[in-house]
Every structure is written in C-alpha cells, then in structure tokens.
C-alpha cells in the first residue's frame, strides 16, 4: 500500500504542492477532497516539495485533501474495445459504457526514429475538389484547418473523416462546444462510422487540465492502431484551445511568457503532437487533421504561426470555402503525378486563371474598363466558385478533373488557357462550344502583378 499524504502546502491555480519523497517526475496521483476525486500529475520536484497539476482543477481542493501516488505516469487502455466509445481526455468513459483498464499504454511516448520513416506516397480521397484536385491530402500528412470561430471547420473535419478511406478515426475534441460534440457524434453515428471511431472529448465546460491530455491520449491510441497495420485518421479540434490551456498552466507556474502570454515552448509542445503523424514501414499510418482557430483572423497570432511552422501545409477555411490562395498541401506533389495525366495541368491552370479573375475583380472595383478578356474571366470565376469551391460539391477526383475542363471550355479557347497544345489536344472537351470567340482582343497571357 502506497503512502497517503494529507497535507497540501500550497494551492495556486490548478497546481497543488505537497511534501513527499521518492516520487517520480510526471508520476500520477489521485487527489481526493470533499469536492470529489481527480487525477493529478507531478510537474515539478524541488527538494521534498512535489507540485501536482490537478486534472479536474484545484477548485474546492482543501489543504487536507488526500493525495495518493500511483507509481506510474499517465496511461490509457488500448484494445479493440475502444472502438465506438467516447472518453474524457483522461480516458474515463463519457458514454454509458464500462471503464476500460486492460492493456494500459503510456501516453506521450518517444518519437519515431527518423531513419524508420518512409516517404509518404498514398493519396487520401475526400471528394472535395478543393482538396483532391488543388491540395491533395496525403496519408501520414499533418495539416491544420485555419479559420475563425463560426466557420464550419468541424463539419469539414467530420466530412473528410467519413469520406476518407481509413480504418480508424480518432477524434480528439478540445474545448468543444457541447453542441459541436453532439453533432460530431451524431454525424458519425448516422453514417455508421461510429464503430470505427474512438473519441476523446473535452468540452468547454470541462476542467481545463483535461484538455491537455486529449492530443496525447488520442495519438497514443492512434499509434497502437497504426502499429497493428491500421490507417488511422486523427482529428484534433481545436488546437488553439489546447494551446490556451497550456498558456493557462504556464502562467500559474509563473513561467515567463514569450509571446502574447504563451509559453516559450509552444512550438515544441505542438510539434511533439503533430510529429506523431507517420507512415510506418511495413505497418499502418497516422494522418492528423487539426482545426486551429485564429483569434482575430490573424495568422501571425502565436498559435497559427507556430502551427504553420510545424505542419505540412494548411487549409484556410473562409466564408465556408477552402481558399485557393494560401491553402497548401506541401505533400501533394508526392501523389498528384500518379493520379491522372491532366491532374497537375488542371491544378495549375485553373488556379492561374482564378488569380487572373481576382485581379479583374479588383480592376472592376476600381472602376477600370472591362475588356473582352475580363468578361470571360468574370464568367469563369463564378463557374469555378460554384463548381469547385463550394463545399457541398462531392465528386470524385476524376469527375472533378472532367468538370475542370468543362468549366474552362465553357469560357475560353484552348490557347487562352496557357496550357500546352499537346495537353489541350488530348483533354479539351471535343463538343465544346466556346462562348467567347473574340480572339484578337484577348491577350494570350496577361501578366499578373506580384
């Protein structure tokens, strides 16, 4: 029987300090007080002073609360029984199912040896043209959705999860609104995906420290599934809440903040989670999609900024659409060469023309005269937005490429697109009736200002 301590020396924020000895760094303890029972973790050892972060928060913890150490660091149970279940960040059931205690694994384990990683090579199909065509998602990629509160980023995550051909979905919810949590759950349930899903959910009303456990629990479980050969998709929403929880703890611990109150190790903390994305040689993979809300729509805010430095690209979700500019899948070139011969052509040309459309819009708003070419671009831009950018569109990559040709053929002559003749000869729709005939007036390639 381990010794029980019942004299708390100091309480600050969610951190309590007691005097104890022979305690391991990061060891877990159970704190029992009149307000209930909570797990706590050692976050500092100094002489015989042991500081513990109380997961359920220190509110109501009295100085005579009982502290019992468990002799190990944070663990979660791993087995097939997790599938279909919903837990808190700490691994307690949130549904009405039984608590799981078999096959406990450590969370926050060591990183994969870079020499054992392989170059990612498999596309993940989502049915969303802005992703599949323009910024292809790749198995083992880590990619956040940058957006502001109110944008449907959770719907987008859920939709990608349902569409993607993965074996296991793990949802890590941090500071989720209760409604969002329920709608995630219902969406997965209705589509029958719940049975291949595990959820670790922290909602906005739960103790803040539990939020910190969500990514580690989710990723530890993901890692085990991946080692068993499963392709795992991990959704983390919202990583800004996770970062804010870290900020709160750091301030309690009187750490000197580096930037807008965030701790100096924000980058390392986020990176150690995102870097869990991996394609194991000879086993499965982990792909991570995160949601990162940008306070004040400011991408230079420390959370999106540090995230951008860690992830392999980002999707900007704005006005309910994935922005074609700024959004980038840094791994797309590893897969989009082997999909269909015209994939890269469509990707580059349609974006170039869309950029031209944008500068035409600008000219139009400045009151400059619209040329024949400008008018073609205006039609094109509208068609592109409706056919490709609208998130309700759900078509295969191949259909999206075909649609791309149709949209272009509807507005332009082949030579106006800047696509090499060899390619247009092969792919330009044969029955196309180009709406615009006025060739002389349309310059072949208008330079776009930087």
């Amino acid at each position: 029987m381990r010794k029980v301590y019942s004299q708390i020396e100091n309480i600050a924020g969610n951190v309590v300090t007691i005097k104890a000895d022979d305690i391991g760094y990061k060891e877990l303890a159970v704190v029992e007080s009149s307000m209930g029972t909570s797990l706590a973790q050692v976050i500092r050892l100094k002489g015989d002073n042991v500081s513990l972060q109380v997961f359920a928060g220190a509110r109501g913890v009295s100085t005579d609360a009982q502290v019992r150490f468990l002799g190990h660091a944070m663990q979660v149970s791993f087995s097939e029984n997790l599938l279909g279940r919903i837990f808190t960040g700490g691994g307690d059931p949130r549904d009405n199912g039984p608590a799981l205690t078999d096959n406990l694994i450590n969370i926050g384990g060591p990183s994969v040896n870079p020499a054992k990683r392989i170059i990612p090579k498999n596309m993940i199909r989502t049915g969303i043209p802005m992703i599949d065509v323009f910024n292809t998602l790749v198995e083992s990629q880590k990619l956040p959705i940058f957006s502001v509160a109110g944008e449907p980023y959770n719907d987008l995550l859920a939709r990608i999860a349902l569409q993607a051909e993965v074996d296991v979905i793990i949802l890590g919810g941090m500071g989720l609104k209760h409604d969002d949590y329920l709608s995630f759950r219902d969406t997965l349930e209705e589509s029958g995906a719940l049975s291949r899903t595990v959820m670790f959910i922290h909602t906005a009303s739960d103790p803040v420290v539990e939020c910190l456990l969500v990514p580690d629990s989710s990723l530890a479980v993901a890692e085990q599934f991946a080692l068993e050969g499963k392709r795992v998709l991990v959704l983390l929403s919202d990583m800004t809440n996770f970062s804010d929880a870290m900020k709160e703890i750091a301030i309690t611990m009187e750490q000197i903040p580096s930037n807008r109150g965030y701790p100096g190790d924000l980058y390392s903390q986020l990176a150690s989670r995102y870097e869990k994305a991996v394609d194991f040689e000879g086993a499965g993979s982990i792909t991570i999609l995160g949601a990162t809300t940008m306070p004040g729509d400011d991408v230079t805010h420390p959370v999106p900024d540090n995230t951008g430095y860690i992830t392999e690209g980002q999707f900007y979700l704005r006005n309910g659409r994935i922005e074609p500019f700024g959004s980038l899948s840094r791994l797309k070139q590893m897969v989009n060469g082997d999909t269909r011969g015209d994939h890269r052509t469509i990707m580059n040309s349609m974006l170039q023309l869309y950029a031209d459309y944008k500068s035409t819009l600008e000219k139009q708003s400045m009151g400059f005269r619209m040329s024949e070419w400008d008018r073609k671009l205006l039609i094109y831009g509208a068609d592109f937005e409706a056919g490709m950018m609208d998130l309700s569109v759900n078509i295969s990559l191949e259909d999206a490429l075909d649609l791309g040709w149709k949209i272009m053929a509807n507005c332009f002559e082949p030579m106006e697109t800047g696509i090499p003749t060899k390619v247009t000869d092969e792919f330009w729709p044969k029955d196309a009736q180009a709406s615009a005939k006025d060739e002389e007036k349309a310059p072949a390639a208008e330079t776009v200002g930087a």
Binding site: Y25, P110, N259, S268, K276, G308, Y309, A450
Partner: protein, 577 residues
C-alpha cells in the same frame, strides 16, 4: 580522476538540480541513473554545491535522491573516418543503427558509438619516426569514400610532439593504436584514428584565418549573381513559414560546389530529413560521379526529439564541419532552423529562471549566435593548404516579422542575408528571396557594375508597379512601363528558377556570367515601341524564349541559336542612334 557523483534534488521539465560531492565543471556531462538506463545530461549552471543539468532525454520517472554520475568530460563528438554518409542525432547517435537495435521508436538512454568500432580502414602513414609535429598535422591518410581522409595529431595535444612510433601501412580500426607521440615535456600520448573533441570549443589547429573572398557557387542564380555567398562566409535565410527556406537549403545541399555538406536538421520536421536521406543515395553528384550521400553528413534532431539535444545538435554539426576543414576541404554547413536552436536556449533559460530579454529570449542570445557563426571561416592550415567552413542558417521569425531577436542578432553577424518574402512565395516566384531587401557583402560571379545596374532596374520597376496600382496602366508613360516590363522580365527569367527542371535547377557560374551578360544588354538597350501593347508583346516573347533557353543544356547546339534569336528580337526594336 576520481569520479564525482551527486543526488537529484529537483526536476523541472528537462532541467534537474543535483547536489554533488567533489568537483564538476561547466558543460560537463553527467548521467542520471534511472533503473537500467542512464540519461545523458550536461551541466549548465553551478551554484554552491548544486549543479543544474539539462537532460538530453525525457525526464519522466526521475526522482529526488536519484544518483547522478559525472564523467569529468565535456560534451564531445567522435572524429575520424566513417562520418561521411551517416545520419546522426544531435548527440551523434547513428540513427539507422539505433533503429536496428530499438525498432520504430527512439529509446531514451540508448547511446551507440558514432564511429563503428569493427570497420577497418586502409591507413597509409605519411609521418616518420622522429618527425616533429603539432596538433592538426598529418600522421597518415585513409581513403574515406571519395576523399582522402587525413589522420591528424590530436587537436588537444599541446606544443610540438615527436613521433616515437607509427604503424606501417595496413588496415586498422578507429581505435587501434597508430602512433605514439612524445610531447615537449616528455609525456607519451597514444594516437588512434579516432579522436574526441568537445563540441562547444572551436577547433583551432590551423595557421591563420583568412578573409573569405572566393564565391561558393550554389548554382542558384539569384544567390550567386545578386546575393553571393563566399567560401568560409556566413549567411542567413529568414522567412515566414512555407516561404521556401527548407527547399532552398535542399537545393543548395545538392548543387553547391563544395567538398562536403553537413545538414543540420534542427528542430524541424522529420519528414523533410527523410526526403534527403532516402533520395541522396539515389542521386549522382556530377562532380564526383558518386552518390550525393557520400559527401553528406546529416545531423538530425527534429522537432519532437528532446529539446536539449537540439541545442547540442548545432554544435555537433559545426564541429564535424571544422574537422573536415582541417583536412583542407571546403565544407558547407546548412542549419534549418537556427530559430529552433534559439528556442531551445530560451526554454533552458526559462527553467533556470534567468532574467529574460526580449520575447523571453536570454540576454546572451546575441553572443551565442555570434560565436556560432564565428566558427565559419577560411583558414590556412599548417601545411599551407586552405580549408573552409561556410555556414548558412535558416531563421523562422515569429509571425514572419524580421524585427525579432533571432533574426536581428543573426543579421548583425552574417555576411549575406537572403530574406524570403511571403508576397513572392504566394505568387510562386521561387526561390522567394526578396531582391529588394536582401544583401550580401561578398563578391558576385557576375560583373559588379552590371549587377548594380540590374538592381537599379528592379527597384525602379517595383516603384512603377506600385504607382500603376493607383493610376492604372493608362496613367503610366511608355518609358516607365518599359522599365516595369524589364524588371518583370529579369525577375521571371533570371531571379526565378525552376527547381524541378533538370537543366534550370542548377546554373553553373560560367553560364550565369554568360546569360547575365546577354540579359544586361537587353536591360540596357534603348527600345522604342508604338504603344504599351506592342512592348508587352515583345517582352512576353522574350520571356518565353529566355525560359526555353534556361531549359537547354549549355553544350547543346540550340543554346547558341536561342541566344542569337534573343539578340535579334531585341535588335529589331532597338534605337539605332
């Protein structure tokens, strides 16, 4: 020497405080004993009988009262044949062999020899018994892949030594005795092919430092022509996320005309290192005909690996670079990203509760950065030959704003600044080095006057572009419009370079001088046009043709043809005054 031991009295993140008996020194290595494993750590501060150590591993499970054993040695690396083509972590653990032993995951407390002890190397002595030698002079050589690797008198030996014994030619391991050296006090030192050197101390076994003057040809046009890097010089690449810092360094690591490239992947993505380590063995280096890997060493402490080891990794890298420089080689060290290293310093400083400077970076940030870049340089060795270490570091400024401590401290000490701009990378103008902001103090591969002239046109073109955004094309004169077109032309056919085209990806210095000469003539030509549209049309054609030219090998007959075509296109509209 009596080993010092101590007991843990505190743990905070990766910092542990140890009460010790005996003597410890700053930066000495100690091991925290935890069950079966020993966690490596380094003394970073001593206060009375307490030493603070940063632990190079995850500290979970360490407890107050735990045993710490000090080694009496500073953090050091192994130097000797067998470093090339290897992949190490920041503490010089060979990652592939670690994977063989531990599988998918890194295992804390597992340390392997950097240089395999069983490999044999064909040693040929060059020194004879009775020779008087000093540290860094050659005892013999072994072939290491494509290079002749010098086995040198250990750098730590003081004064003049006499060779007492030297092994005959033959195959030896790195720990076999190959020479006995007597120093001037009569003490005998054993030398083998491997020596150890503390990473935080520069190797100075050379005659003198020289001023960097010859260019390192990177084959990136905007660099070599406009913002050159000198052999033994230093430069930095700051830029917001996704602007192309890593790609730029990857391209440089492939094409740069140097003997050895050391890639320090410092706190960045593991995936990027994987690309290098999987691809380099497949790529043939045109200079040697062998795989690129044979001239490369990768030091990789990626972002999820322990933070303290990240701090060590840049020192490990630069020490290996200095080692090969001692053999008369030109070494290029590419560090991506030095900001992650600075952040590691910040984390350690925060835990030590030091008084923070700007953005919580420690007050000594500047001097630490300065002394790192100071380790670059060209030196004249004791045998008269020259060797160099060129250092290029990427910087990842918070919010992409160059007005932050790491960028500013770096700018003070480097010789060239390649600033990447978000505007250029968004417009896919790669490499996204901003031609108006960047600078270099080194000599260009092209004619200085022509370069100054071209930069003038770029600047004017930019001003006119800004103005046109307000007044529209209608409100701009044909003359101004032409300057704008010239600037755009230079940008798209020379500053921008297609990293994925087999020819365009690398432009030799000869070719740069030639092409830049032709372009300069075009930029300086007085052209007359009836209107803006005809000017635009010509520059469209020029752009298209010059881009085609960039994709043609210099030894192909077409190369001359296209040059003539360009010249005649311009001649048609030139003034004949």
């Amino acid at each position: 020497m009596a080993t010092t031991t101590g007991k843990i009295v505190g743990v905070n993140g990766n910092l542990m405080t140890v009460r010790f008996e005996g003597a410890v020194s700053q930066n000495e290595v100690g091991y925290a004993v935890l069950d079966e494993s020993r966690l490596m750590s380094e003394v970073v501060r001593v206060q009375g009988r307490n030493a603070d150590l940063q632990v190079f591993e995850d500290t979970t499970g360490l407890r107050v009262g735990g045993l710490v054993e000090f080694t009496g040695e500073l953090l050091a690396v192994e130097l000797g044949p067998g470093l090339l083509a290897q992949i190490f972590d920041g503490l010089q653990n060979p990652l592939p062999r670690l994977a063989e032993q531990c599988g998918f995951f890194l295992q804390r407390g597992t340390y392997l020899d950097a240089l395999p002890r069983d490999a044999k190397w064909a040693f040929t002595p060059t020194a004879k018994v009775g020779d008087s030698l000093t540290a860094g002079e050659t005892l013999g050589t072994v072939p290491e892949g494509i290079y002749e690797h010098r086995i040198m008198v250990p750098f730590a030996l003081p004064g003049v030594c006499t060779v007492e014994e030297i092994s005959p030619a033959g195959d030896y391991t790195v720990i076999d005795l190959i020479a006995k050296l007597r120093d001037d006090r009569g003490e005998i030192h054993d030398a083998c092919m491997m020596q150890r050197w503390p990473v935080k101390i520069p190797i100075k076994a050379y005659e003198e430092r020289l001023r960097p003057k010859d260019p390192v040809v990177t084959k990136i046009r905007i660099v070599d022509t406009f913002f050159p890097v000198a052999r033994g010089g230093t430069y930095c690449i700051p830029g917001p996320f996704g602007a192309g810092k890593t790609v730029l360094q990857q391209i440089t690591s492939r094409h740069a005309e140097v003997d050895i490239v050391i890639i320090a992947a410092c706190g960045e993505r593991a995936g990027e290192v994987v690309e290098t380590l999987r691809e380099f063995p497949e790529i043939t280096d045109p200079r040697t005909g062998k795989s690129l890997m044979e001239r490369t060493v990768i030091i990789c402490n990626t972002s999820s690996m322990p933070v303290a080891a990240r701090e060590a990794s840049v020192y490990t890298s630069v020490t290996l670079a200095e080692y090969y420089r001692q053999m008369g080689m030109n070494v290029l060290l590419l560090a991506d990203s030095t900001s992650r290293w600075a952040q590691a310093l910040r984390e350690a400083s925060g835990r030590l509760e030091e008084i923070p400077g700007e953005e919580a970076f420690p007050a000594y940030l500047e001097s630490v950065i300065a002394s790192f870049y100071e380790r670059g340089g060209v030196v004249r060795l004791k045998d008269g030959s020259e060797g160099s270490v060129t250092i290029g570091g990427s910087v990842s400024p918070a919010g992409g704003n160059f007005d932050e401590p790491v960028t500013q401290a770096t700018l003070k000490v480097v010789g060239a600044f390649h600033g990447l701009s978000r505007a250029r990378s968004d417009a896919r103008r790669y490499p996204a080095i901003d031609p108006l902001e960047s600078w270099s103090k080194y000599a260009s591969v092209a004619d200085d006057e022509l370069v100054a002239n071209a930069r003038g046109i770029l600047r004017q073109g930019n001003e006119i572009d800004q103005m046109m955004k307000v007044v529209g094309e209608e409100g701009t004169t044909v003359e101004d419009f032409m300057v704008y077109l010239k600037a755009e032309y230079l940008d798209s056919v020379y500053l921008q370079q297609d990293a994925f085209d087999p020819v365009d990806e690398a432009t030799s210095s000869d070719r740069q001088a030639r092409v830049f000469g032709v372009l300069s003539n075009i930029l300086n030509a007085k052209l007359s046009f009836a209107d803006k549209d005809s000017a635009r049309r010509l520059f469209h054609q020029l752009t298209q043709t010059t881009k085609d030219w960039n994709r043609v090998r210099m030894d192909a007959p077409e190369f001359e043809e296209i040059q003539k075509k360009l010249e005649s296109m311009v001649a048609e509209v030139a003034h004949h005054a």
